[in-house]
């Protein structure tokens, strides 16, 4: 299925307001959706005949400074088509109030570790995630290193690391 067909299928089932904007200038066209629509859209994409996006390749969190973007790369094994979903989140830089988005672990289990990685390195909170601990860094690490405003710590457990 082409990008346009996937889009029209999505619009006819979930309404025209589901797609906030689309990006067709690049090599891979992308759909932008609102963060509160993420779970219904993902379930629809996975379960609808003709779409069957059963394979989640990748989740990336990108820090664009003015906002965060979470990018989902979806794949359908039976139909061999792909889709890029993007969700923009407000750039809240406080470490006590992370940007929040629904977890899609219930749709694709791949999301489990990918979301933990995004939480760990970019500081995105995935609500409803079954086990949102840090995955690559130690549990007591301060801050989220892939953020553009991250400052390297001087010491870790009293050891100079800079």
């Amino acid at each position: 299925m082409t990008f346009e067909e996937i889009k029209s299928k999505l619009v006819s089932a979930l309404g025209g307001s589901i797609i906030l904007k689309e990006e067709v200038t690049g090599l891979q066209p992308a759909l932008f959706i609102a963060s509160e629509d993420l779970l219904p859209v993902c379930s629809f994409l996975r379960d609808t005949e003709g779409l069957y996006f059963d394979f989640l390749s990748n989740i990336t969190a990108v820090d664009y400074e003015e906002h965060f973007t979470i990018v989902y790369h979806l794949n359908s094994l039976p139909y061999q088509h792909t889709l890029v979903l993007k969700v923009e989140l407000e750039a809240n830089r406080s470490l006590d109030e992370l940007p929040e988005i629904a977890s899609i672990t219930s749709v694709w289990r791949t999301a489990d570790w990918h979301e933990r990685e995004a939480f760990d390195l970019m500081g995105i909170y995935f609500s409803g995630h079954p086990d949102l601990r840090r995955i690559l860094l130690p549990d007591d690490w301060e801050g989220h290193p892939l953020r553009k405003d991250y400052q390297d710590a001087e010491k870790y457990h009293g050891i100079n690391i800079n």
Binding site: T25, G26, L27, Q28, A30, D54, F55, L56, S57, N58, T60, V62, D63, Y64, V71, H73, L77, Q80, V84, L95, D96, E97, L98, W108, R109, T110, D112, W113, L121, Y125, H129, D131, L132, R133, R134, I135, L136, L137, P138, D139, E142, P145, L146
Partner: protein, 398 residues
């Protein structure tokens, strides 16, 4: 992270460990356990010999690939990609380079000779990677001889690739727009010599391991991974194919010159037990080695007949002085020995340094299924299951 909401999962995990019953025991497998193939730590909650729960802990080999890639230009990142899955460095750099070339619009202009050389070295590296998977799998469950045989044959490949690139394991050979150098004179002949040496060795390996009754008893019907679970967990590569799904990106995406090459995609048949068991995963890798040999033979033939070495051929002719991209994003994927390797690039306007590079390692996703596969198995079987996943920690932790 002062907000208790963000420490809630950690507290829950600690509470869970503290509240196990008296007959249960927490057992740490790794990070210095030989069968974890690197620095992986699996925390097992066991009841006698039975594993009730597996909690993997990663990050012991985290080298901040994503962060490094944000501060270096594309060419300088290639050596870092070599260190992701360090057993298949050529394949890593091939995937990375393909992504940059497609964003530059260079991919259709790459000379055929360069593409065939890339596929040739990638397939050699795929054999080397699978040989490690097969050999160490043997030693995981008690067979020492196949391990020595596999490392002996792999050493021939390492020597050949060292001759090509100057380095034994971390090559930096495939560059954006071309190659570091053309193949050395006489490489094709030596490579054919290796292939004719290697083919009978594969038969021997089959006899000692594939049909070995002890090996079959240890692997058949162990760690059965149903196809739907595999897909839902994002498992790819030989592991997904062992579960019966014919999914190979070399065929699906048809990148580089793979559409011009004839090869089969082996899938798990359940010949010794059920589809998707440890034996199937092992067998798919053995069959893939055979297919890679076929691909190498075809590449060598084309390189000798159609795309011969000429005096004026320069593999660096298209290598850009500076990679100048417009602001865009692109996700490239390629079939690595271990599965789908993806790089997601977000580029900046008029800059040769990306805004964000995310690497999607196949081992990372393949490993995530261990908590599912490890439920209720014997501790000894967990070793067999982990070995059959074939992880490289350089890629899990990145």
């Amino acid at each position: 992270m002062a907000n208790p909401k963000y420490r809630e999962a950690l507290a829950r995990y600690e509470k869970h460990l503290a509240e196990i019953s008296t007959q249960e025991m927490v057992l740490n497998m790794g990070p210095q356990h030989p069968s974890t193939h690197g620095v992986l730590r699996l925390q097992l909650i066991t009841d006698g010999e039975i594993v009730k729960e597996v909690v993997p802990h990663l990050g012991y080999l985290h080298r901040c690939f994503d962060k490094h890639a944000e501060s270096l230009n594309y060419g300088k990142t290639i050596p870092f990609t070599d260190r992701l899955d360090y057993l298949a460095s050529m394949n890593n750099s091939h995937a990375f380079v393909m992504g940059v070339e497609r964003m530059l619009g260079l991919d259709s202009k790459i000379p055929k000779r360069v593409e065939y050389i890339r596929v040739l070295v990638c397939e050699l590296n795929r054999i080397a990677s699978h040989l490690i998977a097969i050999g160490t799998y043997g030693i995981d469950i008690g067979a020492t001889t196949p391990f020595l045989w596999c490392f002996r044959d792999r050493e021939h490949i390492m020597n050949m690739l060292e001759w090509v690139s100057g380095s034994r394991m971390l090559y930096n050979y495939i560059w954006v727009g071309g190659l570091f150098y053309d193949l050395p004179v006489g490489f094709e002949a030596r490579c054919s010599e290796f292939i004719s040496y290697f083919k009978p060795k594969l038969v021997e390996l089959d006899e000692i391991l594939t049909q070995n009754q002890i090996f079959i008893s240890r692997t058949a019907n162990i760690g059965v991974l149903p196809a739907d679970v595999a897909i839902n967990y994002g498992v790819s590569g030989p592991m997904l194919r062992a579960s019966g799904i014919k999914w190979d990106l070399r065929r699906i995406d048809g990148y580089s010159v793979y559409p011009e090459i004839d090869f089969e995609i082996p899938v798990g048949q359940g010949a010794m037990g059920s589809i998707g068991d440890c034996w199937d995963r092992y067998k798919v890798r053995v069959d893939e080695v055979r297919e890679s040999v076929r691909i190498i033979e075809q590449c060598l033939e084309r390189l000798r007949k159609d795309f011969k070495r000429t005096a004026d051929f320069d593999p660096r002719a298209l290598v850009p002085k500076k990679v100048n991209l417009k602001a865009q994003d692109y996700y490239v994927r390629a079939e690595n020995p271990k599965g789908e390797l993806g790089f997601y690039f977000v580029t900046k306007e008029k800059s040769d340094i990306p805004l964000r590079v995310k690497s999607r390692g196949p081992s990372f996703n393949n490993l995530s299924v261990i908590s599912e596969l490890g439920k209720g198995v014997l501790i000894a079987d967990l070793i067999a299951i982990l070995g059959s996943i074939d992880i490289v920690l350089g890629e899990v932790d990145r």
